[in-house]
């Protein structure tokens, strides 16, 4: 089953329940489509700008050359045509912009599926839902508030990634990523009476990983309890928000305060000054979270083995 392109263009939500290899191929296909749309957007935008700019001198010269006897000159018609051509190009560019997806989302999903493949049966399906609509989509709007410093804040909540899979040891994995967005705006009048309009965008994210396990396989999970926190390793720029260990499940939530990218960002050019923190490697954040949870599960197995050895000894 390939991606239903028409359906995807309407919804911009990718849904799949298929083996990892197929999901990886489909995400690759989405990436190819996205690159085509990015190119088309850039091209139509450039054509629009050039046509609009070009239409002005051509139109004016054409207007100057026109007289009452011979009517509007050919140049004037060309100017008008260029103006409307520019308008159409802008409209097409806007349409392609809508289909220009956030690369890091499908890239991260693809990378995570690639990692999980190592611990899944080849035919085992992975259930993936990837919301590729912009994070300020009206459906994601939550509420509005005001800060003491006068910012009007529009809050958005975007649970864009949901992935479920059954691993080879019978564990059921559920991984979710949610972005929070604040669009802030205010008008400020300075001492000289000049009014300025300011806006800014703040965002952070939460990663939640849940493992539901077979209690008979991991018999000591309940005993490990809160001490499991010692096993958790988190990357710099992320914080452990919550960790729950019970007899049949482990559940972890990480807070990502820094911006993130799907993988390793290329090192910034030392000549160009970069502003803001280095983006987190999203793949490594997810992988470290999964490894942390399995470090806890494997400890339970280690306790089992120790019990067996001590009985045998």
């Amino acid at each position: 089953m390939a991606v239903d392109v028409e359906q995807f263009r309407k919804e911009r939500i990718y849904r799949a329940q298929a083996p990892c290899t197929q999901v990886s191929e489909e995400l690759q296909h989405l990436g190819d489509l996205d690159r085509v749309h990015e190119k088309k957007e850039l091209r139509t935008h450039s054509v629009g700008v050039l046509s609009m700019i070009g239409s002005l001198p051509v139109g004016f010269i054409g207007l100057a050359m026109s007289d009452e006897e011979s009517g509007p000159s050919l140049l004037l018609w060309m100017g008008v045509l260029m103006f409307f051509g520019g308008l159409v190009s802008f409209l097409m560019s806007k349409r392609y912009k809508r289909l220009n997806l956030e690369n890091r989302r499908y890239e991260l999903a693809s990378r995570v599926v690639g990692l999980l493949r190592a611990d899944m049966a080849p035919e085992e399906p992975v259930t993936l839902e990837l919301d590729l609509r912009e994070d300020s989509h009206p459906d994601k709007y939550q509420n509005e508030s005001r800060t003491p410093s006068g910012w009007k804040v529009r809050h958005y909540l975007d649970p864009w990634l949901s992935l479920q899979a059954r691993l080879l040891d019978g564990t059921h994995l559920r991984l979710e990523m949610t972005e929070r967005l604040q669009l802030r705006s205010r008008t400020k009048t300075n001492a000289r009476g000049k009014t300025k309009y300011q806006n800014k965008r703040l965002s952070d994210a939460f990663l939640r990983v849940r493992l539901r396990v077979k209690p008979e396989r991991y018999q000591h999970l309940g005993r490990i309890g809160s001490r499991a926190q010692g096993a958790v390793q988190v990357m710099t720029g992320t914080q452990l928000e919550d960790l729950t260990v019970e007899a049949d499940r482990v559940d972890m939530t990480l807070y990502l305060g820094n911006p993130w990218s799907a993988g390793n960002e290329p090192r910034p050019n030392p000549e160009t000054r970069s502003t803001g923190p280095t983006p987190l490697n999203g793949q490594r954040v997810v992988a470290t979270a999964l490894l942390s949870l399995y470090q806890i599960l494997n400890l339970s197995r280690a306790l089992d083995k120790k019990a067996v050895h001590s009985r045998a000894g």
Partner: protein
């Protein structure tokens, strides 16, 4: 020399996974150039122009890392689930003393040698266990 047919190799013998070790469900397509173990394409890692299994690759890299001053993840580790835990998770799968779990390995409610005498005494008083084996 042509490679041996796939049927001859049987299933992949490498047990390395991303999160836990398990039998590999894929058929072997080649042999490890170091230990000669049959391995699948995914468990093969390029090393000196040859393909070696995950276990041999990790051991080789460890030797190289001990010889050099800095331990740096090789190219492509980010996309290789089998090597991830070795490079990006300190002490993965290690539960011995000195690590966070060392006290948890000793169950405070577990029986110790000191419990042996009172238990035997109680069993003797209640005549729960037969201790005179020569009698039966």
């Amino acid at each position: 020399m042509s490679p041996p047919p796939r049927e001859m190799l049987g299933p992949c013998q490498e047990k390395a996974g991303f999160l836990f070790a398990h039998d590999c469900p894929r058929p072997a397509t080649q042999r490890c150039a170091q230990c000669d173990k049959p391995i699948c394409a995914e468990h093969g890692h390029p090393w000196n122009g040859q393909q070696i299994c995950t276990g041999c690759f990790k051991a080789t890299r460890q030797e190289e890392a001990q010889a050099s001053k800095f331990r740096r993840a090789p190219e492509g580790v980010d996309d290789d689930p089998y090597l991830y835990s070795s490079y990006y998770y300190r002490g993965y799968g290690y539960y011995d003393h000195g690590y966070w779990g060392h006290d948890i390995l000793n169950d405070p409610n577990d029986f110790t040698e000191a419990d042996g005498l009172p238990l035997r005494q109680r069993a003797r008083d209640r005549r729960e266990f037969e201790e005179d084996m020569g009698g039966s």
